[in-house]
């Protein structure tokens, strides 16, 4: 697992690669919240996520909620197959409101 965090460009996407699971949740929480704090508009690239579990999902929900609280824009892009599968299973795709299966996001959807 490796996180490429481009802090010099505040709007640059954060790519999560490898595991987004209980094993990495603790680390990623800080990475994601730092990323969110650093910019007004954050994009999380999920294309490199190889493993995704409920802890990972829960983490994304938390970040999304935090973004809403802070009035910032958070987008998830490039959902890898494992992410898509779990989003579909959990029925939370609507909550995130991101366009799925599309590499380049057009606009942030509305969350409940």
């Amino acid at each position: 697992m490796a996180n490429e965090n481009n802090k010099k460009q505040p709007s640059g996407p954060i790519a999560i690669t490898g595991e987004l699971t209980i094993y990495t949740a603790l680390e990623l929480k800080d990475t994601l919240l730092d990323g969110l704090a650093a910019s007004e508009e954050l994009e999380l690239d999920l294309s490199g996520v190889g493993e995704f579990d409920a802890a990972g999902l829960q983490l994304l929900v938390m970040v999304k909620q935090q973004a809403t609280v802070l009035g910032k824009i958070l987008r998830f892009t490039g959902h890898s197959p494992v992410v898509l599968e779990l989003l579909d299973l959990s029925g939370l795709a609507g909550f995130f409101g991101d366009p799925l299966l599309i590499v380049k996001p057009i606009r942030e959807g509305k969350s409940i």
């Binding site: 209980i22 929480k29 802890a55 829960q58 983490l59 935090q66 609280v69 299973l89 029925g91």
Partner: protein, 730 residues
């Protein structure tokens, strides 16, 4: 830091689980898949992962996680378990065992092991991303439920939905226990189809307070399935303890939904919306339920089976099957609960105390006899009988069946035959023979060596076997039985047997025997137990380095056992290990020599005769003619250099050990005595003819004669004497 005792328990448990896993894997590798066995493997992996997670032993968690994921797919029917996969899992099992070994020793695994683990994880993960081999035909196997007209109490309204409703709120520890809530959802889809699933994220706290390793999730699921409630319920067995789980069957009463809504932590309206969204309730039904909120559904609780039958949702036979299964589960739990893990040291302490009790009892008995009080003698007799029983059951606590040790060799035989490219069957008999736990623990290594040796050198290659007119498949037998107070373990093969000339040649070459010495077949065969002896032409990975057989012999002798070998050339060989049943207490036979008392293990005593009646020729003082049998004898008085006057009537105690007999000449026969063996200090280690000492009821010390050691010494002395005679003659 984890307290050592917990870690110890962890290691012990893991080892047990690994043993079960290995056993199951070996079965799976041989035969077609059985869901029960796959489940057993999964459970083992799962539990290890869970407890390793609790201790924060990350590398084990990561590794077991990979294995578990694959197993999960096998379990859900996505993957077929075949011999290749089973072999991979056996390798994974070995790796895990090594990791646990490192945990037990308190060190980190070396890099090499790490890399091996990573390679295995990669291999395992390859299975994860592979395409689904086959979808399970589960739904067809599920008991079919007849939809019938529903007759119910009029007072309670019934919801119209045809779907099950499941409310799940996972406990905070679920992630840390190594479980993923979605795996249950996936499991659920094997029983039917999930119509609608709403993930409850309301419990996730704001960013600052959220612990990413705590589970805040819940599910509301409407589920279309013809499975019975038990089957659905069983899915959640692993998380039942710390999770909120409610399962409502189709057409449940409105009041039950009402209770559910009350029990759930979320707000009523939100829940109601979710239930409507799930398609479980129609908006009207929800309205009704919320309106009758105040009225409590106070129906008496009845077994779910009864309710189901009454509602004509499930047919009685289905219930019966379910109940039977439940009973089985209960029975299993019962047998699990009747086992207690006891520290071996406590057991030793108990046995030691029982030993003291025996000594005290014997003392009382002696005093009673001296005082001639009949009443007291009677009561001490009862007492000693009871103490004897206590002793037996205390010793039985330490007794374990040798089967578990034997079963381990299934694996050894499998591995070694693969390595050697030979086809070998293992036949185990006498697995229920019991012996002392200490002995069992210590016999493993020597046995492994013997088994490997038999497979490597004993059993020939398939071609050679066929040319010798034997079946291509070799047979290795492990057998155990009780015999004359000892346990005998046999390792036999149907291989080529030992080559006498070759052994003799080698022995002469190594200077172990002098040329021209007349040796019996047996003596020749047993030469292979001498140090530095190997007849293998090539040194293989397994054996043939010339170390080994002598180590085997030493190990067995350290357990007060013996080992010998029989062989028929071309037909195979049998190695027989003879071990004492226990190391702590024996039935002894007390004899007196001069003023001292000696104890001879009763198991070895054959009979007692008067010396003069049989030894007609006193001159040579070495042999007596016992009913036509030549019996060597030895005066204990001479042997232990006891001073004092000779008695008129000397007695001979005839002892037998294995196939050898000898006579021990003593002054007095004093009868049976339960003997607690106390070890002698290291100072007396070189004295082979004494095995320990004990304290008699009178408080006197008696030495315990080590019969095998004494016999050896007699023989050795005789050899020396003969050599001197030969030398003198020259």
């Amino acid at each position: 830091m984890i307290p050592d005792e917990y870690l110890q328990t962890f290691v012990v448990e893991c080892r047990e689980l690994l043993e079960q896993m290995e056993e199951a894997l070996l079965i799976v590798e041989q035969a077609a898949e059985d869901p029960e066995i796959i489940n057993a493997i999964f459970r083992a992996a799962h539990t290890i992962k869970g407890s390793a997670g609790m201790f924060g032993i990350d590398h084990i968690v990561v590794f077991t996680h990979a294995a578990e994921s694959v197993l999960d797919r096998v379990r859900s029917g996505d993957l077929a378990m075949n011999s290749i996969l089973a072999a991979l899992f056996i390798e994974a099992h070995d790796h895990l065992k090594e990791l646990i070994g490192h945990v037990a020793e308190g060190n980190q695994p070396p890099e090499e092991t790490d890399n091996h683990g990573k390679r295995l994880i990669m291999q395992l993960e390859a299975y994860l991303h592979g395409t689904a081999a086959e979808q399970p035909g589960d739904s067809s196997e599920m008991p079919t439920v007849q939809h019938a007209k529903l007759e119910r109490e009029q007072s309670d309204t019934v919801v119209s939905s045809e779907l099950w409703h499941l409310s799940l709120r996972f406990g905070p520890e679920v992630f840390r226990n190594g479980m993923d809530p979605f795996s249950f959802v996936r499991c659920l889809s094997s029983l039917g189809s999930i119509e609608e699933l709403v993930t409850i994220i309301d419990a996730i706290p704001p960013a600052e307070q959220m612990d990413p390793e705590t589970c805040y999730l819940g599910f509301e699921i409407s589920f279309n399935s013809e499975a019975d409630k038990l089957a659905i319920d069983n899915i959640f067995n692993f998380v039942r303890s710390d999770c909120f789980i409610r399962i409502l069957p189709p057409h449940s009463k409105a009041s039950e939904y009402q209770r559910l809504i009350q029990e759930l932590p979320e707000q009523e309206m939100r829940l109601g919306e979710i239930l409507v969204k799930c398609g479980t309730l129609t908006p009207e039904e929800l309205d009704n339920i919320l309106r009758i909120q105040s009225e409590h559904g106070d129906n008496p609780q009845r077994p779910i089976g009864e309710v189901l039958v009454e509602q004509q949702l499930v047919s009685p036979p289905v219930i019966e099957a379910a109940l039977k299964k439940q009973q089985q589960v209960k029975d299993n739990k019962k047998s699990e609960a009747s086992l207690i893990r006891v520290d071996a040291e406590k057991l030793d302490e108990l046995i030691n105390l029982v030993g003291e009790l025996i000594i005290a009892g014997a003392g009382t008995n002696l005093i009673a006899r001296r005082a001639g009080m009949a009443d007291l003698m009677e009561s001490t007799a009862t007492l000693s009988r009871l103490v004897e029983e206590v002793r037996d059951s205390a010793l039985a606590l330490r007794m374990v069946q040798i089967g578990a040790t034997f079963n381990r060799f299934t694996r050894v035989v499998r591995d070694v035959s693969k390595e050697l490219g030979k086809n070998i069957d293992l036949i185990i008999s006498g697995a229920d023979t019991e012996l002392d736990k200490t002995v069992v623990e210590k016999i493993g290594d020597p046995l492994t060596h013997l088994v490997r040796n038999s497979m490597d050198h004993g059993i020939e290659s398939a071609e050679l076997r066929i040319s010798r007119g034997k079946p291509a498949k070799g047979v290795l037998k492990l057998n155990a039985y009780h015999d004359a107070g000892s346990i005998v373990i046999e390792v036999s093969d149907d291989g080529g047997g030992l080559n006498k000339d070759k052994i003799l040649g080698k022995a002469i070459e190594r200077g172990l025997v002098s040329e021209g010495a007349a040796l019996t077949d047996k003596e020749i065969y047993n030469l292979i137990f001498e140090a530095g002896f190997s007849t293998a032409d090539t040194v293989s990975n397994l054996s043939g380095r010339g170390v080994g057989m002598d180590v085997v012999k030493r190990n067995i002798q350290a357990l007060r056992g013996t080992v010998d070998l029989n062989s028929i050339e071309g037909q195979g060989s049998t190695i027989r290990i003879r071990l004492p049943l226990t190391l702590a207490i024996i039935d002894g036979f007390i004899v007196g020599v001069g003023n001292a008392a000696y104890v001879i293990p009763l198991d070895m005593v054959v009979e007692c005769v008067e010396l003069r009646a049989w030894a007609s020729n006193e001159d040579d003082g070495q042999y007596l003619n016992l009913r036509g049998e030549v019996l060597p004898y030895r005066r204990l008085r001479d042997h232990f250099a006891v001073e004092g006057d000779m008695v008129q009537r000397e007695n001979v105690v005839v002892v037998r050990y294995g196939e050898r007999k000898a006579g021990l000449v003593v002054d007095k026969l004093m009868g049976e005595f339960q003997t607690v063996i106390k070890p002698l200090s290291k100072l007396f280690k070189s004295e082979k003819s004494i095995g320990g000492f004990t304290i008699l009821g009178s408080g006197e010390v008696a030495l315990i004669v080590d019969v095998p050691g004494l016999m050896e010494q007699i023989e050795h002395d005789r050899e020396v004497a003969e050599m001197t005679i030969v030398a003198a003659a020259k």
